[in-house]
C-alpha cells in the first residue's frame, strides 16, 4: 500500500503480466537462505549440502508443476536467459542437421531478438502469422516445415493479448515428422494461467520466470528434456549440467520453488477468481464507447489478461493518469519505446496503428480483488473521457 500522487491511499496493481509482488509465503521461505543457510550449493560440507538440498527441493517443486523430472530443470536468471539458452543452445547443437527455425510474429522480444541474432549468424527464421485474435496459423506451420527445420518456438500464452496458443496441436504436428524437430515453449506468460504438461505439449524445452507468479525477480527456469542436444551459450565457473555457469541464486531459487508450490496448490481457485475478475473488467470496459478488446474471449484467453484499445486516447498518458489514481497498468503505446512503432503483436492481429497507440493492458494476479475492479471501473471511464476531451483525434473517425 502506498500513497498515490493525488494523496489517496490506494494501490490497485493490474500489471501482473509485467511483474508481481512476492507472496508472503515465498519471502518467508527465502529468508533463512540469506543469513543462516547461506552456504554455496556445490560444497559438500553441511552448509553447502543444506543449500544444495534446498535447490533440489525447488527443482522438484518446479518440475512437478509441468510434469517434468527434477533433473530436467535448470535454474536461470529469468525467462529471458532461458529463452536465449534454449533457442541458441539448440540451434548451435543441431546446426549440422539444418539451419531453419520457425517461430511466430507475436513472440516476446526475448525470443524475437534471439532469432534475429541467429539470422545474422546465417540461420533462416520463419515468423508465422496469426489471425485477428492472435492464434498461430498451424496450417502455415505445416507448410513451412522442411528437412532443414531443427527448432520451433512458440509461447503457450501471448503476454500482450492473452491468446492461448494451440501448443499441443503444434507438438502433435512436430511429433509426426520423420526428422526430430525440437519444440521450445516460452511459458513465461502462461505459467499459473493455464495447465502446463511438457509431455502433452511434446515440448523439449520450456521457459519459466518466477517473478510472473509471485516469486522473486532474477530467477527463472529452463526445462530441457533428457537427451536434448544443447550447447551452452555462456561460459565459466561451475557449469550446472554444463549449461548455466555461476553461483546459484539460492534464496531466489528457494523462492521460485515455493512460488511454484503455491501456484499449484491455488491453481483452480486462482484461475477461476482471475477469470471472474477478468470478465467483469472486460464487460465494464466495453461499456466505454469506442473501446475494442484485443484477443479472444472465454476459455481461449488467459484468465489474467484484459487488453483494451480506447480510440482517440494515447496509451502512455492513460497509463500515467491511471497511475495518478493509484492504478498500475501497462501500455502498448509506441510513445514508450525508442522505435516509436506500435506493438508488434497488435500490428500482427491487424489493429490499426492509431488505435494500437491507445492500448492498455490490465493483468491480474492472485491478490486482486473485486473491489479493486470496481474501483478501476469507476476511474477508467473518467480518464478516457478526460483524455478524449483534450484530444484532437475523434474516436469515431478511427
Amino acid at each position: 500500500m502506498s500513497y498515490n500522487s493525488l494523496g489517496a491511499r490506494v494501490r490497485v496493481y493490474l500489471d501482473n503480466g509485467t511483474t508481481t509482488p512476492v507472496a508472503r509465503e515465498v519471502l518467508d521461505a527465502m529468508l533463512p537462505y540469506f543469513t543462516e543457510k547461506f552456504g554455496h550449493p556445490v560444497f559438500p560440507y553441511s552448509l553447502g549440502l543444506e543449500a544444495a538440498e534446498a535447490v533440489e527441493r525447488s527443482q522438484r517443486a518446479v518440475a512437478g508443476t509441468i510434469n517434468a523430472k527434477p533433473e530436467e530443470i535448470i535454474f536461470t536468471s529469468g525467462a529471458t536467459q532461458s529463452n536465449d539458452m534454449a533457442i541458441r543452445g539448440v540451434a548451435y547443437a543441431n546446426r549440422h542437421r539444418g539451419r531453419h527455425i520457425i517461430t511466430t510474429k507475436v513472440e516476446n522480444p526475448s525470443v524475437l531478438r534471439v532469432c534475429e541474432r541467429l539470422e545474422r549468424e546465417g540461420f533462416k527464421v520463419d515468423y508465422l502469422p496469426v489471425d485477428s485474435e492472435g492464434f498461430v496459423d498451424t496450417a502455415e506451420l505445416e507448410r513451412k516445415l522442411t528437412e532443414e527445420t531443427i527448432l520451433v518456438s512458440v509461447a503457450n500464452v501471448n503476454d500482450e493479448i492473452g491468446t492461448i496458443e494451440p501448443v499441443e496441436e503444434i507438438g502433435e504436428i512436430l511429433r509426426g515428422r520423420r526428422e526430430k524437430i525440437y519444440f521450445h515453449v516460452n511459458a513465461a506468460a502462461g505459467y499459473g494461467k493455464v495447465r502446463i504438461d511438457v509431455k502433452k505439449m511434446g515440448a523439449d524445452l520450456l521457459s519459466l520466470s518466477a517473478h510472473k507468479v509471485h516469486g522473486p525477480k532474477g530467477v527463472g527456469a529452463l526445462f530441457v528434456a533428457e537427451e536434448t542436444p544443447i550447447e551452452p551459450v555462456s561460459y565459466g565457473y561451475i557449469s550446472l549440467f554444463k549449461l548455466r555457469p555461476g553461483t546459484e541464486n539460492v534464496p531466489g531459487i528457494v523462492g521460485f520453488g515455493r512460488a511454484a508450490e503455491l501456484m499449484a496448490e491455488n491453481f483452480d481457485r486462482d484461475v477461476s477468481c482471475m477469470r471472474r475478475l477478468r470478465d467483469k473488467l472486460m464487460a465494464g470496459l466495453e461499456e466505454i464507447p469506442y473501446t475494442v478488446i484485443n484477443g479472444p474471449r472465454g476459455d481461449k484467453r488467459s484468465p489474467a489478461n484484459v487488453s483494451c484499445s480506447f480510440k482517440g486516447v494515447e496509451g502512455e498518458s492513460m497509463m500515467l493518469h491511471l497511475d495518478l489514481h493509484g492504478i498500475s497498468v501497462a501500455t502498448g503505446s509506441a510513445c514508450s519505446t525508442t522505435k516509436l512503432e506500435p506493438s508488434h503483436v497488435l500490428t500482427a492481429i491487424g489493429v490499426k496503428a492509431a488505435v494500437a497507440h491507445g492500448t492498455i493492458r490490465f493483468t491480474l494476479g492472485r491478490y486482486n480483488t473485486e473491489e479493486e475492479i470496481d474501483y478501476t471501473l469507476s476511474v477508467v471511464p473518467r480518464v478516457v473521457e478526460q483524455l478524449r476531451r483534450i484530444s484532437p483525434v475523434k474516436p469515431e473517425q478511427l
Binding site: 500522487s5 503480466g17 509485467t18 516476446n108 522480444p109 503476454d159 500482450e160 482517440g312 486516447v313 494515447e314 502512455e316 498518458s317 500515467l320 495518478l324 501497462a330 501500455t331 502498448g332 503505446s333 509506441a334 510513445c335 514508450s336 519505446t337 525508442t338 522505435k339 516509436l340 506500435p342 506493438s343 503483436v345 490499426k352 496503428a353 492509431a354 497507440h357 492500448t359 493492458r361 476531451r389 483534450i390 484530444s391 484532437p392 483525434v393 478511427l398
Partner: protein, 139 residues
C-alpha cells in the same frame, strides 16, 4: 507490455514536466481562434492542434489539444505558455530547446514531442501570416 524499452530510466520525466502533464493550463478548444494548425498523425501516436487568438500581431490567447504521451501534453502546454502575450515576431523566435528547458529537460526519446509542438506553432504562425498578407496589412 513487451515494448522494447532500451534502457531503464529512459522515461524518467522531470517534476516540472509531470506537473504540466497532470495540470495543463492551456488545454482545450478555443472559440473563434484567429488561426488553427495541426501537426502529427494519430498513426504515429502523437498529434497537436493549436489555437491562437491574435490581435494587433500579438498572441492574446492560445490553447491546444493533444493526442499523445505525457511529454506531448506537457510540451504543448509549455509552448503555449511561452508564446502567450508575445508578438508574432517574438513567437517566431522561439527555439525547440527553450521548450525542453522550460520543462526541466526532456528524456532523449521524447525530444520529438518538443519538435512537434514547435512545428505546430510554426505552422500556425505561417498560417496567420498567410491570411494577413492575403487580407492586406491590418491594425
Amino acid at each position: 507490455m513487451t515494448v522494447d524499452y532500451t534502457e531503464r530510466g529512459m522515461l524518467k520525466y522531470s517534476e516540472k514536466l509531470l506537473e504540466r502533464f497532470r495540470n495543463p493550463k492551456n488545454i482545450g478548444e478555443m472559440e473563434n481562434p484567429t488561426v488553427v494548425a495541426e501537426e502529427g498523425d494519430p498513426q504515429c501516436g502523437d498529434m497537436f492542434r493549436m489555437f491562437l487568438k491574435i490581435e494587433n500581431d500579438r498572441i492574446v490567447d492560445a490553447r491546444f489539444l493533444s493526442f499523445g504521451c505525457a511529454a506531448n501534453i506537457a510540451t504543448g502546454d509549455v509552448t503555449v505558455d511561452l508564446i502567450k502575450g508575445k508578438t508574432v515576431d517574438e513567437a517566431e523566435k522561439l527555439q525547440i530547446k527553450e521548450i525542453a528547458e522550460a520543462l526541466g529537460g526532456l528524456p532523449a526519446i521524447k525530444m520529438h514531442c518538443a519538435v512537434l509542438s514547435y512545428k505546430t506553432l510554426k505552422k500556425a504562425l505561417a498560417e496567420y501570416r498567410k491570411t494577413r498578407s492575403g487580407a492586406g496589412p491590418q491594425g
